[in-house]
């Protein structure tokens, strides 16, 4: 199912996106760059001034010579400090604003991707994009980017200053550049797979660990403690060995960085020595060049060791920009339906374009009528429900409410509650307000009361303000399903589709849920996919599907009397009762 991944943007597309984002903030970007250049310049000035002082000392100048140097040093320190603070802040600000936009747009796009695209690509990929990829960029922007940009500026300006002193000194310092570059070229192709292997090993370790912890009752019940501990230990050892290997790689890379530093500084000193001997430059100027070069060690080393993080961030950016460019599905049609009748007319549908799942299905749910869909697994009930709710689009035929195609209806016309429940993390009331953001506390409470959930909600530690969902108060499957129904009540759509809404509830809650569903459906046009035949028995009408077609339709009693397929279902289902 996950063979078709979501798209990844080309490097050019990512760059274009970044360019557009920066151009939208042109003034800010220019200011940021200026502050960075100012900070870098200010930090090269002291070395230059000290070089002059060396020459004065060698010339045996008087002590007054120190005053202008001192003034320059103090001014450079103050200006450099201020420019560093402002420049750094501006870089962070620019980066995190661009990131915030990217984050919001990616999530907004992800939420509007068509259901079929997501089913084919799997949700895992999308989830890792909105979490891991955004975090990778976030970390790069806040931890790596400011240091990296200031290091690049500093290196550029220092080399320029050295060339300004004497081009040969600049060239001597530049000897380090290819060595750094080779180091990076040696490191990056090795680093990426090593770090990836480390991440995989750590992820496997935590997967087995978390799985064993969450399944601890089963582990105990089957006396599997030793087996699981051995598994965790084995994977831990593997992760440890890989980590040690990665660290060894890293130290070898640092050794290459040190080599570049040695070569660069060495050649500056040797060339400086020769130039001084030829009396082309002064000792002070060579000292200044050496100091300038030495100042670069830390920033450049930082640049080198964080380079792969920026690469990662680049890869993450490509994956996010890939999502941004996907076609989204908007359901904010503004054609109000002329009535509340739900109609599927000659609808055919196929997931793969070959095997039809629905074959010219026509069904009609009158305003306010509750119709149950019955059939064995694979009969196409869920597909029919999804088409009725506009989650899927028919291959041919029409799905309409009040004569308007479902896809063109306002979003609050048809609601579907599927078997897949989810409790959104946060206060319970906020979960419900997803259906209607401006609902008052009273309205939320009323919706809960309608589906019979208010009793247990009141018993929660903080009532409707209790934090539920992952990391919060855990709700049972039945309670989660009741919340889903309460959301529908709050949304108050004229048409509702229920798909196996009570199947997973657990025996204890199934009866409450059936009552809750009945309450939520009251007064609405409803299509109910029924697995428990009590739901079918209490519906106004039952439609039986088989192999993608409608085979029977009529009230419960009439179908029983007919003695057809539905009657056989009913007999098989109620048999244990009558023994």
């Amino acid at each position: 199912m996950t063979d078709e991944l979501l798209p990844v943007a080309s490097p050019r597309a990512s760059r274009a996106w970044l360019g557009t984002a920066l151009r939208a903030r042109k003034v800010q970007a220019v200011l940021t760059l200026s502050a960075g250049v100012l900070a870098a310049t200010a930090s090269t000035v002291p070395a230059y001034a000290l070089g002059l002082l060396v020459d004065r000392i060698r010339a045996g100048g008087d002590t007054g010579a120190i005053v202008p140097v001192a003034v320059v040093l103090v001014v450079a320190a103050v200006a450099g400090g201020v420019a560093t603070a402002i420049g750094g802040y501006l870089i962070s600000r620019l980066g995190s604003q661009v990131l915030a936009d990217l984050r919001e747009r990616t999530v907004a796009t992800a939420l509007r991707l068509p259901a079929r695209v997501l089913d084919r690509a799997g949700r895992g990929d999308l989830l890792s994009r909105v979490s891991a990829d955004i975090s990778a960029i976030d970390r790069a922007v806040s931890d790596v980017l400011p240091g990296m940009i200031s290091a690049i500026l500093l290196a550029g300006i220092s080399l320029a200053a050295m060339i300004g002193i004497d081009w040969r000194l600049g060239l001597a310092g530049a000897v380090a550049v290819p060595i750094y570059a080779f180091g990076l070229r040696w490191y990056l192709p090795r680093a990426a797979p090593s770090y990836a292997a480390e991440r995989v090993a750590i992820a496997e370790r935590s997967q087995v660990f978390v799985e064993s912890m969450q399944g601890t009752r089963t582990v105990h019940a089957y006396r599997l403690e030793d087996r699981h501990l051995a598994g965790i230990e084995g994977l831990s050892a593997r992760a440890r060995d890989i980590s040690i290997g990665v660290f060894a790689l890293y130290t070898r890379f640092v050794w290459r960085i040190n080599r570049a530093e040695l070569a660069g500084l060495g050649s500056v000193l040797v060339v400086g020595f020769l130039l001084v001997r030829k009396e082309v430059v002064s000792v002070g100027e060579v000292s200044a060049a050496a100091l300038l070069f030495h100042r670069l060690f830390n920033p450049v080393a930082l640049l080198m060791v964080t380079f792969d993080k920026v690469q990662d961030a680049g890869a993450s950016l490509a994956r996010l920009v890939g999502v941004l460019d996907m076609a989204v599905e908007r359901r904010d049609g503004s054609t109000p339906p002329a009535g509340r009748e739900l109609v599927l007319e000659d609808v055919s549908f196929s997931y793969d374009g070959v095997t039809p799942v629905l074959d010219r299905v026509s069904l009609r749910v009158a305003p306010g009528e509750v119709v149950a869909l019955v059939g064995s697994t694979g009969a196409g009930k869920t597909t029919a429900a999804s088409l009725a709710a506009g989650i899927l689009r028919p291959g041919s035929g029409h799905a309409t409410v009040g004569g308007v195609p479902v896809a063109e209806l306002p979003a609050d016309t048809v609601a579907i509650v599927s078997q897949e429940t989810h409790v959104f993390t946060g206060p319970l009331a906020e979960d419900l307000r997803l259906a209607r953001p401006r609902a008052s506390d009273d309205e939320v409470t009323a919706a809960l009361a309608r589906v019979g959930a208010l009793d247990w909600v009141r018993e929660l530690p903080a009532g409707i303000d209790t934090v539920v969902g992952s990391g919060g108060h855990q709700l049972t499957a039945a309670h989660a399903q009741q919340l889903a129904l309460a959301r529908v009540v709050l949304l108050d759509p004229p048409v509702v589709v229920l798909d196996e809404a009570t199947a997973e509830a657990g025996s204890a809650g199934a009866r409450d849920l059936e009552q809750a569903a009945a309450a939520a459906l009251a007064g609405r046009t409803a299509l109910v996919v029924a697995h428990r035949l009590t739901q079918a028995a209490s519906a106004d009408r039952v439609i039986v599907m088989e192999h993608g077609r409608v085979v029977e339709s009529g009230p419960h009693a009439a179908l029983i009397a007919e003695g057809g397929r539905y009657a056989r279902f009913w007999a098989a289902w109620s048999a244990p009762n009558r023994r």
Binding site: I134, D412, E420, F424, P437, R579
Partner: protein, 441 residues
């Protein structure tokens, strides 16, 4: 405990070489400087740590803001994850716009926290740049004065200003060490608290239950909502248990899993359950939790957990009995069984419990995600596998499924913490209205 605590604790090892190399660098430079000029060396060796310690005073403020920033970033990420996970339900009620708006609000809060942290961090960075430039500059000026007045040579002057620039880094490393140590220490504390925590399960003291065929006997048991529960499961019996309140069923399951803190008698083969050797007790009495936990691997490795490997026939038999044969014995199982439907997971877990062949088996709502026809087949499968002519196993099923209850030898009804009715399913459903309603159909 956060799973990264062990990592943070181990970082101490990572810090040791850094501290050693920083110390070495400081000592070598210090000796050089002191040899060149004692006063200059002293100024540098005193002033540099003072400056770094002063700058470090701002560290808690920055750490605080960064923590808040990371917290907010984490909130944003988990919100995005949460919303995308719940995409289907969201789409079902057309709430994508509301969700995107919620994400935007949290994202802006996160941005504000990031900017607040960036302000503090960069102000610190600016101050640190300014102070270290001033310090190195001050020392250079003092050294320049010494050189101009002939107390040190030009070469020595260059050495001094080079060292002044160099020393800031190792001193900086040394200044952060206390903070690293504190973080590692805090993590180590949390790790230790886990290591020192008591064990959950009673060990037992080696009591040996009598006989070859074991019975389970509860007499006047009080435990949580259970108020004087009597239940006797004889060898070979298939008992259905209906609990009107789920909490009572859960209490019974919990008690049999961890026999601790109850009143009354809870006997396995005549011995108090908590005194039976833990491993043996769990072999004799197997409690299958309602929430199914499957593990990464294959279907076969999930069912035949002890890899007895005794023939495909036995595996196929339990899979058939649990109506899980459609899944296929070679099917791969993802993390926590995520690639199976709820009903499939339930049936695989049931097959696993049946495969273990415990003399006493307790199942808790094993078929809630299974349709009625399959439930019927499962009930027959359990009966055939565990209660055949010479099997002699005992099975207790807590359930409200009529299919399972009808197959049981007798049904015990628990209400208000005690047994209120007992009898065959058909008999109970004929005479007891409450019972009929409770089992739904």
């Amino acid at each position: 405990m956060s799973s990264t605590d062990a990592d943070y604790t181990s970082y101490v090892l990572d810090h040791i070489p850094r501290v050693i190399s920083a110390l070495l660098a400081v000592v070598v430079s210090a000796v050089t400087l002191l040899l060149i000029s004692a006063p200059l060396g002293l100024i540098m060796l005193v002033a540099t740590p003072i400056m770094l310690v002063t700058l470090n005073l701002a560290a808690p403020l920055i750490a605080d803001r960064i923590a808040r920033q990371q917290d907010q970033a984490g909130r944003t990420t988990s919100l995005a994850t949460d919303l995308v996970t719940g995409l289907r339900p969201l789409r079902g009620i057309g709430a994508q716009d509301a969700a995107a708006e919620r994400c935007r609000v949290v994202s802006r809060e996160s941005l504000a926290a990031t900017l607040s942290a960036a302000r503090a961090q960069n102000a610190y960075q600016g101050a640190s740049t300014m102070l270290s430039t001033l310090l190195a500059g001050g020392i250079a000026i003092a050294a320049g004065w010494f050189a101009l007045t002939g107390r040190i040579t030009a070469g020595q002057f260059i050495t001094v200003i080079g060292s002044a620039q160099f020393l800031i880094e190792p001193f900086g490393t040394l200044a952060i060490v206390p903070r690293w140590y504190a973080a590692a220490r805090a993590s180590a504390g949390r790790v230790a608290s886990v290591l020192e925590a008591g064990l959950v399960l009673p060990e037992g003291n080696g009591a040996e239950p009598a006989g070859q065929r074991y019975d389970l006997c509860l007499r006047g048991v009080r435990y949580g909502p259970l108020a004087g529960l009597d239940l006797h499961v004889r060898p070979g019996e298939f008992v259905g248990v209906v609990a009107y309140r789920p909490a009572e069923a859960e209490a019974l399951v919990r008690l049999l899993t961890v026999p601790d803190g109850y009143e009354g008698d809870l006997l396995l083969g005549g011995e108090p359950l908590e005194t039976v050797d833990r491993t043996r007790a769990r072999r004799l009495l197997h409690v299958e939790p309602h929430r199914t936990d499957l593990f990464t691997g294959s279907l076969a490795s999930n069912v035949d957990v002890h890899r007895s490997g005794n023939g495909g026939g036995e595996l196929a038999g339990v899979l058939r009995a649990a109506a899980a044969d459609a899944v296929g014995a070679d099917a791969a199982i993802d993390e926590r069984g995520a690639n199976l439907s709820g009903g499939q997971r339930q049936r695989v877990a049931l097959a696993r419990a049946l495969h273990a062949r415990p003399p006493l088996l307790l199942l808790h709502d094993p078929t809630t995600a299974v349709d009625a026809v399959t439930e019927h087949a499962i009930a027959g499968g359990i009966r055939a596998l565990r209660h055949g002519p010479d099997a002699g196993y005992s099975t207790v099923v807590i359930t409200s499924s009529p299919a399972l209850l009808a197959t049981a030898d007798r049904v015990v009804v628990i209400s208000d913490g005690a047994v209120t009715a007992e009898g065959a399913h058909a008999e109970l459903s004929a005479r007891d209205d409450t019972y009929r309603q409770a089992i739904l159909r």
